[in-house]
């Protein structure tokens, strides 16, 4: 009998250097500038004069191993097997031979992984798991992303451009695994009903003190049902955050009729021109309407088009709205302003207008 190999742990990720193409090893830390020769292509030039073309292709983020093998084959054919993924789930092929760039683009477009996503336009939507794999999802993620990107595709492949880049993100509940709170446009799944408590399940699965303390508004209280300890929810105090559900699976929140999506606008993370900013509420609720969520697609497209028409060069959505003012944003987009738009959580008062600096209608 052979001795099993010792179990390896805590080895950490493999060192990145073994995956870098020669041109990157040679010019590491010595790049001089870059250009965007065409949509979806970045050209980096080193102080050495070396050139690297990065050809950026779309992905669904959710990928089968068959597709990863196809991407590997394409990388072998066009760029010695070198590719990387971006922070927004695009795939980049790292090409040193300029004559391979156009045939590569043609091949990727033909295979259904279109090239684009650079410059002042829209690139892949950072998103979460949704109904594919999450317990607290108020909506699906991939389906909404696919539907929105199909509609906004001209802004991806470069056939239409925008005043500045526009980053869209999607999260399927307030946990925001996609951290959508600083995006030009954010689509966020929301619950609208207090948790339905499964008392039998709660007794076996949850600690009452941690469930009570999970509530940011103090809406959960210990109580007794049928002579046994459990919790109750003061529904008027519930803001549907789902934190209790994360702590205690018996506090079920998912609701086929009342779950849906909200739209947020004007966030950014870069420091360019203005400081990073949060996204703010534009539309509090849109229905879950699978498979293609037409109301949500139309709402996002409307905001993009109004922005495209009115913003100045280099103005991100948030900068544009700061210049024109929120009243004008609601007027131009024809989005209704409601009581839900006015903050009532911590520090809400900081968002109230305390000056006459607004345009009279």
């Amino acid at each position: 009998m052979s001795t099993p190999a010792p179990r390896k742990t805590d080895i950490g990720p493999p060192h990145y250097e073994q995956f870098l193409p020669e041109v990157i090893k040679k010019n590491y830390g010595k790049w001089k500038y870059h250009e965007r020769p065409k949509p979806g292509v970045l050209l980096h030039v080193g102080h050495s004069g070396d050139k690297l073309w990065s050809v950026r292709a779309a992905s669904a983020r959710l990928m089968s191993i068959e597709t990863l093998r196809l991407l590997a084959d394409i990388a072998d054919e066009f760029c010695d097997g070198h590719l990387r993924f971006t922070s927004r789930n695009n795939v980049e092929f790292l090409v040193v031979d300029e004559s391979k760039v156009d045939p590569l683009i043609e091949r990727l477009n033909k295979e259904g992984y279109p090239v684009g996503g650079t410059g002042p336009g829209i690139t892949n939507i950072v998103h979460t798991q949704g109904w594919i794999h999450c317990h607290s999802a108020a909506s699906d993620a991939s389906g909404v992303v696919k539907s929105v990107m199909d509609e906004l595709f001209p802004y991806y492949d470069g056939s239409k451009t925008l005043p500045a880049k526009l980053r869209i993100a999607f999260a399927c509940c307030l946990n925001m695994c996609g951290a959508v709170h600083c995006s030009d446009i954010a689509i966020l799944g929301v619950h609208r009903r207090a948790p339905v408590i499964k008392h039998d399940q709660l007794r076996g699965q949850c600690e009452i003190p941690s469930t009570v303390s999970a509530c940011p508004t103090g809406a959960i209280r210990p109580t007794t049902v049928d002579g046994r300890e459990t919790v109750e929810v003061i529904e008027e105090q519930c803001m549907f955050c789902a934190n209790c559900y994360t702590v205690c699976p018996a506090m079920t929140l998912n609701d086929p009729v009342n779950d849906g999506l909200s739209i947020w606008v004007g966030g950014k993370v870069s420091n360019a021109r203005s400081e990073p900013m949060f996204s703010k509420l534009a539309i509090p609720f849109l229905p879950n309407n699978p498979p293609r969520w037409p109301e949500t697609v139309a709402a996002v497209k409307n905001i993009v088009e109004v922005y495209a028409k009115d913003a100045r060069n280099y103005e991100r959505v948030g900068e544009w709205i700061e210049r024109i003012g929120w009243p004008k944003f609601f007027e131009m987009t024809e989005i209704e302003f409601t009581k839900y738009h006015i903050d009532d959580f911590k520090h809400a008062g900081e968002t109230y207008k305390r000056s006459l600096h607004f345009r009279q209608k």
């Binding site: 390896k8 742990t9 779309a58 279109p114 990073p276």
Partner: protein
Amino acid sequence: MAEKLRATPLLDELEKGPWPSFVTEMKKSAAKNPMANDQLGILEHSYRDKIGHWKHGGLVGVMGYGGGVIGRYSDLPEEYPECAEFHTIRVNQPAGWFYTSDVLRKLCDVWEKHGSGLTNMHGSTGDIILLGAKTEALEPVFSDLTEMGFDLGGSGSDVRTPSCCCGESRCEWACYDTMKFTHELTQHFQDELHRPAFPYKFKFKMAGCPNDCVASVARSDMSIIGTWRDNIQIDQKEVAAYVKNGLDIDADVTSRCPTGCIKWDGKALQIDNTNCVKCMHCINTMPKGLAPGKDRGATILLGAKAPIIGGALLASVLVPFYDMEDAEDIYELAEEIWDVWGEHGMNRERVGEFIQRIGLGNFLEQIGLEPEPEMVMHPRTNPYIFFELDEEG
């Protein structure tokens, strides 16, 4: 083994249109893999009744680790038996997300052998996500992964898998070597990454310049963003070429400078670098003409998070400038923070929320940093000062 695909009339609608279809991806896997086929079926079920069918996680993982696997069970195990257990495995990505075709194929082989064949490239935190493993497959997957040099990422109340932009590997704006730093940091904190011992999660994200392509200021508890202290490098000839080629330098560059420290007199660009706030706009606009200075380092910020529990936060400045010369300094800083937060933080309280609760001034005192005006937007406006009782006279 060929599978008869589950009927998916609703999902089929999402195979139309120019954007890559996740449904097509799922069908590719489903054609060969019964787990993926049942996963396709359960998703169609969700599209029909507008509700998710995944239950809360369970305690599953690999021996000796407290993180890296997210337990997932469906609530329809009879109808979709092959995906009744469908756990997520987080695999720590190589820094910068660079791969060779060879290593990608090897990862695919491991996943073909043990799991559903579905992946995310990548998850929100940065990991390679292997989507859908049965409990019995976890140890074998782990064994095959470590054999080829990969390890699991973080989950739960631990150091989450650190991630970074591509930095100096392919960007002229990187003000420090994000990939090297991220790799070494990840190796240094392997224990903290695999064995949850904090009040809640702790994320690191490394961005090479203030453009912050990895959204570190919004998405990480400790955000390390490259910056510089000296003068922006100017190539006047290249600047003039941009203008000659049609750039409206007054409208699109100088008037967009947040501190008005840049002037164009028709021939040369002048920058009052003492007033530059390193926003990157002018450099972004003219990459051939301008570059960050040579005295480079990073600003360290702390405390970003998504809304749960006490509301979303952006990170705030903790160290205005660090030269990034010695990673040990940052490890020590992180450990100081974990000591204080670990002792006084409440269950599921992120470090940003903890700082808001105890006050940034108190927090700085605890971790041994001096207060600096760069840390606030402005000094307090309220006079309710907690003067210390031992101050007299």
